[in-house]
Amino acid sequence: MNVQYHYDFFQHVPSIVVSLLNYLLFGMIIYSLYKRKKEKISLWKAIIIAFIGGFLFSINLNIFHSFIQIPILPIGVWLLYWFCKNRFGKVGWEKYRSFAWAGFYIKFIFIFTSFLIYPIDILIYPKDELKTFIKDVNQPRIIRTIPKVNEVKLEKLKLVNSVDTFKINELYKDEKWYAGTFQYETKMKPIERFPYILVGTKPKFGSNVKTIIYIEKDGKGIFITTKDKHYYFRSDINIISPVKGGNNHVEK
């Protein structure tokens, strides 16, 4: 059914749901058309004809976070017309015509259903809740990504128990950090604010979010980046602790 979304299809539940809805609509429309027809062709033929009728040249757009296909040229219908006319003559084509066009027009209905994906996604996977991004903490490991900070380890229980205390926050609220990092015309920059990366966690099932999870120096901030967005969460609870043996200066 030519479903294309900007999510990895099989890992994204909202896309699957909408696709099932599409199949359901397709089946219902073709079946009701089939029942109303006087000159019978077999149902499976009608379905195949409608399916081929859905092959088309389209313009693909990204509007309101949704990937939509606007049908332009009914390639499938043309093919069927050419094939049926040669094979069965003008009269033979009449039997199939409405199914072929139905296959094409149904694609316009799919434009509306694809607008459902994003709201469903927001509903089940709210991006302002940390547990959307960190659901399972199976074998967590912290990678220190800046050599100047101390080695730390994750307090797994603290993270698991405090996921809800992490609230979405504005990254640039810390003006001193912002100015030091981005505004002063100097080569001397403050040390990286997020010097750890957390690996070994999983996002909510079916959300298909691909992330890199950074942890703030004081262990009370979690900074998440995707390919084009970032999310910053802040809590009062420190989820890391220094590894013994190092000369540590990370405040509790």
């Binding site: 990678i143 640039y172 080569k187 691909k210 890199i212 900074f223 980046t225 390919k227 084009d228 967005k229």
Partner: protein, 251 residues
Amino acid sequence: MLKNKKTIFGLSILVIAFIVIYWFYLSKPTAFYSEARIKKMISHTYKGENVKEIQDIIFIDQKHVFVPYISTEKGYGVSFWKWQHHKWKIVNIIDKAGTPRIWKMKPSDPSSYVMFWNYSPVDQVNEIKFRLNRERNYMMSNENVYYLPEILLEQKLSLHTKTYGFLKYPSDWIKIQKLEAAAGPKENIFFLQVHGYRTSLSLSMTTYDKNGKEIFPEESINGNDYIVEDELFDYIMYTDDKDFIDRERND
């Protein structure tokens, strides 16, 4: 009778196909070449390069071999070999290997990456530091802000009196590289920091003498590559430690 013939014919085709596939793709590597043969093959492949001494024959894994050597011109070179199509083949020869290379055996899989070097003793290199680095950066548009934290992973190692050596990609590096590939910034993101820093991960390295002082390996650089398979090798850029220290202050 005719049917029988056909069956036999079909079967023998299958058997031959199986043998061919097995022979070229699946068979276990045979013993590696003798030193004399290696020397001959290197000077045969890379005209004008004559090997005086084979320093070592190192199996990276069953099918990939690293052979550092010393040439008659006192160049400390390296050669890379691969078992392919039932043959040990030369993949690359570098006559002076003081600019380390990374060999991406499977370019899409960072766990197959290995870094190699061979320094002339004149340069007195005792330690190498490799870095995997990405600059911090940020983007701001009407509806979106995007901050990219800095990443700097370092791996220091001692040459242990050997002039040559190799380092498999450390596990943290593999992890970070994979994360970056799956969820790193989109390529068309427009970043505002215009210092020419790359927004993707890049490799660099620095060398030190036995007192831990930074030392530039004059004698070992500017080597020529005789590459048989091109896309699998990358240079690792030499960078002064200063470039990394100056950019940050402790706070």
